[in-house]
């Protein structure tokens, strides 16, 4: 366990040594923003809308006391979406999509000697391949978290108003009521940290793959499970630190 953590930290150090020129990273960063960020918008949108909708319906179904005002439903949807769903839940989903993609890509490059080809040319393969993925993740994950938060609240609005469990006025009032702007900042910080963890853990798993197709599959699976565990641990620590 300790040796794995040690190798992971050495791997992180490798990303920032013997770097290539800015132009090389800039082009690759843009490519990775498309691969990691833009291509994830659809899945993030679908998950956010439905989770927001389900949260609204479930909250309303369980708030049976007449003493609790109806606008509390959207109040809960807002806080749950901002504090957990748009960052943690969204990142667990992204660990599956982005993490397996990164580990699979690097694992395949490793076993087909593409990484060796880079090393032979004198290029720091870890830095050249992984650093743009890391930068793209920490750049796009917070944006996806903002999108996810907005669509989650919208999903709750649609589910609540279309089924008649809450009026549009109550819903809008609820999401404005006792709003703490810092919660948006918490979501952004969480997404930033989770983006870092998912991209580096998945890259670590993929980069050190050896063997064949079977091992690439195993590396992808390990990347997803390890990323999810790291996200959940980091989520707890950040919750302690930021709230």
């Amino acid at each position: 366990m300790f040796s794995i953590v040690g190798r992971y930290l050495i791997f992180l150090g490798k990303l920032f040594t013997r770097r290539e020129t800015f132009r090389v990273y800039w082009n690759r960063f843009l490519d990775e923003c498309l691969n990691i960020g833009i291509s994830s918008i659809f899945i993030v949108a679908i998950v956010a809308v439905f989770i927001g909708a389900v949260t609204c319906v479930q909250t309303r179904a369980n708030l049976v006391s007449p003493l609790i005002p109806v606008y509390i439903v959207s109040n809960i949807v807002r806080d749950m979406t901002l504090l957990e769903l748009s960052s943690t839940f969204m990142c667990v989903v992204l660990a599956g999509k982005v993490g397996s993609n990164i580990a699979g890509e690097l694992g395949t490059m490793k076993i087909t000697e593409q990484i060796d080809a880079l090393e032979v040319m004198g290029i720091n393969s870890a830095s050249y391949l992984v650093l743009p993925k890391l930068l793209a993740s920490v750049f796009t994950f917070p944006m996806l978290a903002i999108l996810s938060g907005f669509l989650g609240i919208m999903g709750g609005y649609l589910a609540g108003t279309l089924t008649g469990i809450i009026t549009p006025e109550d819903y809008i009032y609820g999401i404005r009521y006792s709003f703490i702007p810092f919660n948006v900042f918490i979501a952004i910080i969480k997404a930033f940290v989770f983006g870092f963890l998912i991209s580096t853990i998945s890259a670590f798993k993929g980069y050190y793959t050896s063997g064949g197709a079977l091992e690439v599959g195993q590396a992808s699976t390990a990347a997803v499970t390890n990323s999810c565990i790291a996200v959940l641990i980091a989520d707890y620590l950040l919750a302690e630190l930021l709230t």
Partner: protein, 251 residues
């Protein structure tokens, strides 16, 4: 000239290379042969410093590759061209982009000059007009040719080929061998080929090193290999019945 001195490497207490030494001369096609699992590819990786041996040195024209300054190592790396077993082409790039990649990363050459250089290399390996295709759209033999084009695009002083004939039909194998031989003579490169193909050994081997269980058991030329009396090499060479017949006739 490349000189390897007393290279030893083991993995998990298993000795893969044991005190291997040899000299690969400029303008010659040198072959490292041996059965599967004898350490040929590990020796190549040691020479490329992809795997660091526990003992020994690799000298490129007298420059020690393992203990040199970072800048010198970078210079030596720029003088290398490597054809990997599967081609090791970057899947996300076209054939043209693959060949241009070392120029993009390692030189400040103007774009037009790079394009000309890539076209020249494509022409040199007989693949003109295929630059826009993706690696997944070309055959195994073409991938090897693209790999060779990428290896020679920087005008290397040292050319390494890891099993250039593996997975190819006999005719394509001969063409690849001839191409490597031509390039070696044309550019005066020091070429090292890892192979277990006896056709390559007899047709292009200027210098041959035979590895057996991680040890160098024999070295010589394609003219002397058929006269060998080393039992392990005899077993390796004359597992091919045609060669056995050839030797019987010669005797």
């Amino acid at each position: 000239m490349i000189e390897i001195k007393h290279i030893s490497k083991s993995f998990n207490d298993r000795q893969v290379l044991d005190n291997v030494s040899g000299v690969f001369k400029k303008g010659q096609t040198s072959l490292v042969i041996g059965a599967s699992g004898t350490g040929k590819s590990v020796l190549l990786k040691c020479m490329l410093d992809l795997v660091r041996p526990e003992q020994g040195a690799t000298l490129y024209d007298g420059r020690d590759f393992y203990i040199g300054e970072e800048e010198e190592k970078k210079t030596i790396r720029r003088e290398m061209g490597v054809l990997f077993q599967g081609g090791a082409l970057f899947d996300s790039q076209t054939v043209h982009q693959n060949i241009q990649f070392p120029l993009d990363m390692l030189t400040e050459m103007p774009e037009a000059e790079k394009k000309d250089r890539v076209e020249f290399c494509l022409q040199r390996v007989g693949l003109e007009g295929t630059g826009s295709r993706m690696p997944s759209e070309i055959s195994g033999g073409m991938k090897k040719r693209v790999g060779i084009a990428r290896a020679i695009v920087m005008n290397p002083k040292y050319l390494f080929c890891d099993e250039p004939n593996s997975g190819l039909d006999p005719l394509t194998s001969i063409k690849i061998d001839e191409l490597i031989k031509e390039i070696t003579e044309e550019y005066g490169t020091t070429t090292v080929i890892i192979t277990h193909d006896m056709n390559s050994v007899l047709s292009i081997g200027d210098y041959i090193m035979f590895l057996y269980k991680g040890k160098k058991l024999w070295e010589g030329t394609s003219q002397t290999i058929l006269d060998t009396t080393v039992p392990e090499l005899e077993e390796f060479v004359f597992s091919n019945k045609a060669l056995m017949k050839m030797r019987a006739e010669k005797r």
